[in-house]
Symmetry: C2
Amino acid sequence: QVCRWSTNHLDSNTDTIHFFCNYEESRGNYLVDVDGNRMLDVYTQISSIPIGYNHPALMKVMTNPNNVSAFVNRPALGILPPENFPDKLIESLLSIAPSGMTRVQTMACGSCSNENAFKTMFIWYRNKERGYANPSEQEVGTCMINQSPGCPDLSILSFMGAFHGRTLGCLATTHSKVIHKLDIPSFDWPIAPFPKLQYPLEEFVRENAQEEARCLEEVEDLIVKWRQKGKPVAGIVIEPIQAEGGDNHASPDFFIKLRNIARKHGCAFHVDEVQTGGGTTGKFWAHEHWGLDDPADVVSFSKKLLTGGYYHRDELQPDKPYRIFNTWMGDPSKNLFLSEVLNVIRRENLLEEVTRSGKALLQGLYALQTQYPHILSRARGQGTFCAIDACNDATRDSIMIKARNKGLFMGSCGEKTIRFRPTLVFKEYHVHQLLNILNDVLAEHK
Amino acid sequence: QVCRWSTNHLDSNTDTIHFFCNYEESRGNYLVDVDGNRMLDVYTQISSIPIGYNHPALMKVMTNPNNVSAFVNRPALGILPPENFPDKLIESLLSIAPSGMTRVQTMACGSCSNENAFKTMFIWYRNKERGYANPSEQEVGTCMINQSPGCPDLSILSFMGAFHGRTLGCLATTHSKVIHKLDIPSFDWPIAPFPKLQYPLEEFVRENAQEEARCLEEVEDLIVKWRQKGKPVAGIVIEPIQAEGGDNHASPDFFIKLRNIARKHGCAFHVDEVQTGGGTTGKFWAHEHWGLDDPADVVSFSKKLLTGGYYHRDELQPDKPYRIFNTWMGDPSKNLFLSEVLNVIRRENLLEEVTRSGKALLQGLYALQTQYPHILSRARGQGTFCAIDACNDATRDSIMIKARNKGLFMGSCGEKTIRFRPTLVFKEYHVHQLLNILNDVLAEHK
């Protein structure tokens, strides 16, 4: 049933294809494949479908004649924005700006968002270093030939298990899988350990606090060490929940202390919400769960937001035009869809739904791991952003295939983790359907 | 009349904004601003509008109910492509594949295209180096922490004046403007001189051949030097015409010899057609003008193609799935538009039109520089991909503003160059309109 790309005219990663889809027939939480099989989809195009397939509110965007021009005439937003673009930004992205974030820059995808967020932090850091003076002649001369001081030896501190994208700058901060990294030149940037917590978090408070303290100590050591090496840390980048790396959580206390370390050492603090953002944790931004006194410096997004981009504080505004720039700088047609998504989220109180469904999902996963302790462990999650580990990767893969044959399509992450990334319109009855199928699969599992 | 972003809610590069546009009212080659001013647009959103504003063929894509799903449900193309995606690729991107290019990988934008093209070349090069064996334990271990040999010290050779994008990998091969490069960490990769030719090319054949020979010699020297440094050149990347860097041309002979040097030293040869591709030089790909015996290894594109991506030879196919991968891997809705653009190009013989209009434009520019030799020089071009230099940047900028006030919107590049990047539906009568306005501006110029 799983059809594969057979023609060798076509590129490349054909082995990555799970199956071909009939998107016309897909609805809400249900993805339909080319053979007409209908599956409850809790992977949602790698967590990028916010309110389900073919949502009527999004279909209406397409049939509204006022919108046609935004699709047909993609502008160079940085120089020739459409008349209504500032208003559209205010009613869409700026209406959901995380606390302290006064500015937003759209980009086409998650990688470009993080690449440009890194650049914004480098520019900010160097401007501080030279006291906001004009660059020296030596800087101007050397930058054109990739040499310091014009292209300075600055670094971004990231965490083992992190995923921030796969373009060369992003990839230097990504440490989740060998296949992402092998053979690609990189930067000598510091990599801190991410806490390895024990679940459920409530039962291991003391052990987890110790583990987090160990990691934070290492962060400070690395910042000092890299400064001494002549490669100062301009920014720290972190996901609120490491997704691709295996759904690894840390406590609000960990992130608050990390933010304080960043401030203490003059590093920017960049929260990568590409996968966690958009409501799936029960708040629009996962880092709202931390209760930060002092906001982040940069928050990047993509996926469920449909457009990429990043917010930042006033202070990180580049000092000159064209420092952050490319041809398209995003895509206004994606903003049109986002506005509708936000309307639906508000109108239907979807963040509350997510919290309710998430609670039911996590309770159900706890019950399953109690029932099948030889197969499942470490159920964890926030909102519907949930995960559970299998005893090994072969078992995980087998569970996923059997579930798919019973009409449940899930994703994987880390070494042996199943990740749940349903839409925001994933209700409690979908949770029960999911748990029933999973229970059937586990009951049959030898 | 030029309205500027005044609210400081909004990011960032507000000083880059030329004016706000009314895209609904714009048609064909004419861009309309918010005040109703109608301009002949020969900059076309930084060369990214293929067949003009609001082309009826593209409007029809929007009103065809069969297409709605492709807009509303953006898939994770790498794992869950739509049913018709292979056919759509064959009728669109593969129907225009450059000679020797059997595979295509779509991406969301030009920078991502080049980033992933570079990665494809690195993977290919390292696989050759290790004899297509599995990576060593040491490689697997070191790659996760950004260290060699897992993240090898490979390089990409680029040219002074080049522009290949502004994400960190691309930016290491971009050397056109300080504002692009300053304060951003980079790689120690070799940079060769790009020929500085004298125009018109026909009149300086011997001098230009000498200059090109000098640059090619330097390329070989750099390849040897970087190999000795332990940072072998995995690939050479070059634009057929350096656009952002000032519309710098080189002869077919230069590129053929460069291709031979790449092969001789085992480097991949990557032609960046992000700005030159799509028909504007009179052939669909600018490098078709060279008459290469042995095709390029990689050809990247974006802008007028509406989707980003790159073609490559079979041999550069990554050895494992997921080596080149991201969430969206392009956007099928952009492919729908591209198919229509290609239909229009074929039906209306637009490449012939471009050749005809281009000839008239270049002749007209020659005439203007003869008439105003104290102001203009170095008229050059291929198809409608034309440029002319002003005597200095202030004069260039003043001419551009005056022309805009008379209804002609042009772009700049390099230090003092005006670049012409009209659509493919730019006819001879548009050329005459352009030349008339330019002549008026020059006649008034003090």
